[in-house]
């Protein structure tokens, strides 16, 4: 009976949801189709169309063929650069954020809300505003034009997000748990390692996904604070699309975009089911 009364409404909902999903997926479908069409085919026909024959060569060119910055090695070296920045920066910012979130949520001390407030203030500062201060910092510590400099930037800037996420999650942990552990003689770090960290899987997965995606997709700092062969993959993608006198390389571009999106996609597939769960975990409180 329940099923019968809800069925028509359900169909309507599914219809609407499917339409929205189709509209949402349309650009992706165009990109996937174009990644299999040659440049000439796109230029002589239309941006939208079925591949006449599958041009897998686009993927080969995107991965290791086309020329950026006077070397013709595709996006492969730039993918490596992005990984060298993204992986350490994600790990550092997540770990530091977890410790900071744990400190401001479960260890009340004078000014803890102020510290929390100041750290999360970073969320509201536009990227462009922080560009020059970072230039001065990197210059003074000698890390300008190095990948290590980018790791530093993303670790510190990531702290705003990771602290916010972890703090909101840890707030829900009963204080009795901490008190009991303290009575047993456990200190700040022991409680963190033995009690908090084992409870943190959902929120850590959220911050890892969040940080990884943001750092991987970041362009402004990547292009400003690196040079030549150290540039991240986003810079290589833009290089592909910004030629004046050329027909836009839609085929190779599409293939390159898909390859470059794979790492973030993989992270989502592995941890996606925790994502919404973790995001909403702290919200109920």
């Amino acid at each position: 009976m329940r099923d019968r009364t809800f069925a028509p409404r359900r169909i309507w909902i599914y219809l609407v949801v499917s339409l929205i999903a189709a509209a949402w997926l349309a650009p992706l479908i165009v990109v996937v189709l174009n990644s299999l069409r040659t440049n000439e085919e796109i230029a002589q026909g239309s941006m939208i169309g079925w591949p006449q024959h599958l041009a897998w060569s686009n993927y080969a060119a995107a991965w290791s063929g086309f020329c950026v910055a006077e070397t013709c090695a595709g996006i492969r070296p730039y993918m490596l650069n992005s990984a060298l920045v993204t992986i350490p920066a994600t790990i550092f910012s997540t770990m530091l954020g977890a410790i900071a979130g744990y400190a401001v949520s479960l260890w009340r001390f004078r000014g803890d809300t102020w510290i929390y407030g100041i750290v999360t203030l970073g969320l509201f500062l536009p990227q462009q505003m922080r560009l020059l201060p970072w230039t001065i910092v990197l210059r003074d510590i000698g890390l300008i034009n190095t990948l290590a400099g980018l790791v530093l930037i993303h670790t510190i800037q990531g702290l705003s997000f990771t602290t916010l996420f972890c703090r909101n999650y840890y707030v829900a942990i009963p204080h009795e748990l901490i008190r009991a552990a303290r009575i047993d003689g456990a200190g700040f770090f022991r409680i963190f390692w033995r009690i908090i960290l084992p409870l943190s899987a959902p929120i850590l997965i959220v911050t890892v996904i969040w940080q990884f995606t943001h750092i991987w997709n970041e362009f402004l700092y990547g292009v400003t604070f690196t040079t030549g062969q150290q540039q991240p993959v986003t810079a290589a993608l833009i290089a592909l699309s910004a030629a004046v006198a050329d027909i836009p390389q839609h085929g190779v571009q599409s293939a390159a975009v898909i390859i470059a999106a794979l790492p973030t996609l993989l992270i989502y597939l592995l941890g996606g089911k925790y994502f919404v769960r973790g995001l909403t975990a702290g919200a109920v409180k």
Binding site: N39, E40, A43, Q44, G45, S46, M47, F66, C67, V68, A69, E70, L84, I87, P88, I91, L131, L132, T135, I136, L138, R139, G142, L143, I144, N145, T146, L147, A148, G149, V151, F219, L220, V223, T224, F225, T227, G228, Q230, Q231, A235, A236, I238, A239, L240, A242, A243, V244, A245, D246, I247, P248, Q249
Partner: protein
């Protein structure tokens, strides 16, 4: 642990990068070296600058070019970061009035001696030369030129219109568009929807109606000229053009419509000279279209200049200084300009380069001839849409007015002229 390996590798990498310049200095004392940044990293732009680098190396120099992919903003961020870090590149790509603006931020190199030695000044369009010597001294050198108002005619659309005469004035242009329309060409004007596109239509219209008014209003921002009848006439012409365009361009690149243009579904394209390279790279044949100078009511070609250039930043290192001199000499060299333009499809800055030989297209020859004639009749002016006439902020204010006018057909030409004058006042 994988983490430590990554971190260690990173540190080692950064130490190596830091140590590299010192190592290079120790190796050879006076070997010319050039650090350069540009946004040219891929496609024919990337190929051309790579070829220039090869020539630099052939002359015994060390070429250190770091492309900053993307648009001008990204490159400017990079340049600002390098200047603040006390390590400006020996030269960097920059164009238009931004040369004057940026020259106030960090000291530039006085190139007067090397320019005089090459006898360069007399073979460069006067308005262009002025841009590169903002304080009276050459601090930057133009590398290649495009015109932004070339007229591309589709052969098949011409057949549909049963026309074979290339329009010279705006009246002839309008006639031809009408003929195309009645001959079954769906949209007599092919257009894209990117930011400069509408600006290009307006500047082509105004400069074609009166180069004098263009110079006074757009380049010199004279209030009287901005309120003059030519501006209204230009907006009226832009309205005609807009009515002949496919309104569904969104923010698409003009190349999206090339197929319809070649097929004769679209008739004419007012576009920069670079479009012929795009047509060629898209696999279309030169027989499919004709290139001519944009319409000009006094029948003499009007040339809207867009030129890429390098600005030279002061460095103390002798090898970089030697590199700057070598680079300046190369950029002014007719053989180098020939090589460069043949790769990108532009035309040389020098007006004394012979384009009759192999390797030049008919479109490039037409463009170069148009430039020569336009200079002779003082009708070579600087493009607004491509940031040659004004700094970015002013250009943006103007293009906002023009784009709104193109899209909103209820705005009258007189209203648009008033709005343009107001926008200029606001952005001043």
């Amino acid at each position: 642990m994988p983490i430590t390996t990554t971190r260690r590798r990173l540190l080692a990498g950064s130490v190596a990068t830091l140590a590299l310049p010192a190592f290079a200095r120790a190796q050879g004392a006076v070997k010319p070296r050039l650090t350069a940044i540009s946004q040219w990293s891929a496609g024919s732009d990337g190929a051309a600058i790579t070829a220039l680098g090869k020539k630099f190396e052939e002359k015994g120099g060390v070429w250190q070019h770091s492309p900053v992919p993307g648009f001008t903003t990204e490159m400017m961020n990079k340049l600002r970061a390098q200047i603040m870090a006390g390590d400006p590149p020996a030269c960097s790509q920059l164009k238009g009035p931004e040369i004057a603006a940026w020259s106030k931020i960090a000291p530039t190199v006085d190139l007067d001696a090397v320019v005089a030695a090459a006898g360069y000044e007399k073979v460069v369009a006067p308005d262009l030369a002025k841009l590169h010597k903002p304080g009276g001294k050459w601090i930057a050198l133009p590398l290649q030129i495009y015109s932004t108002n070339m007229l591309f005619l589709s052969k098949r659309a011409m057949d549909k219109a049963k026309a074979d005469k290339i329009p010279v004035t705006w009246a002839e242009f309008n006639d031809l568009a009408e003929k195309m329309k009645s001959g079954g060409v769906a949209f007599p004007i092919a257009n894209g929807g990117t930011r400069p596109d509408d600006g290009q239509k307006f500047e082509a219209a105004l400069a074609g109606i009166s180069p004098l008014a263009y110079r006074a209003a757009i380049m010199n921002l004279e209030k009287k000229a901005l309120e003059g009848p030519e501006i209204k006439a230009a907006f009226a012409q832009v309205r005609k053009i807009a009515d002949w365009m496919d309104p569904n361009v969104g923010a698409q690149h003009f190349s999206t419509n090339l197929k319809r243009f070649v097929d004769g579904d679209m008739g004419m394209m007012i576009m920069g000279g670079w479009a012929q390279g795009v047509l060629r790279n898209a696999g279309f044949k030169f027989e499919d279209f004709t290139i001519a100078p944009g319409p000009s009511d006094n029948s003499k070609p009007v040339f809207l200049l867009n030129a890429d250039a390098f600005i030279f930043w002061q460095r103390k290192e002798p090898d970089l200084q030697a590199g700057q001199t070598l680079m300046a000499q190369l950029v002014m060299d007719p053989a180098i300009q020939t090589m460069y333009s043949q790769i990108t499809g532009s035309i040389p800055v020098r007006t004394d380069v012979d384009l009759s030989g192999e390797g030049w297209s008919e479109g490039q020859r037409t463009t170069a001839a148009a430039l020569k004639n336009a200079i002779a009749s003082n009708q070579a002016v600087l493009s607004m849409a491509h940031n040659m006439a004004q700094e970015n902020g002013m250009t943006a204010a103007m293009i906002d007015v023009i784009t709104e006018y193109v899209k909103n057909k209820t705005i009258k030409p007189e209203q648009a002229a008033t709005r343009l004058a107001e926008a200029v006042e606001g952005a001043r």
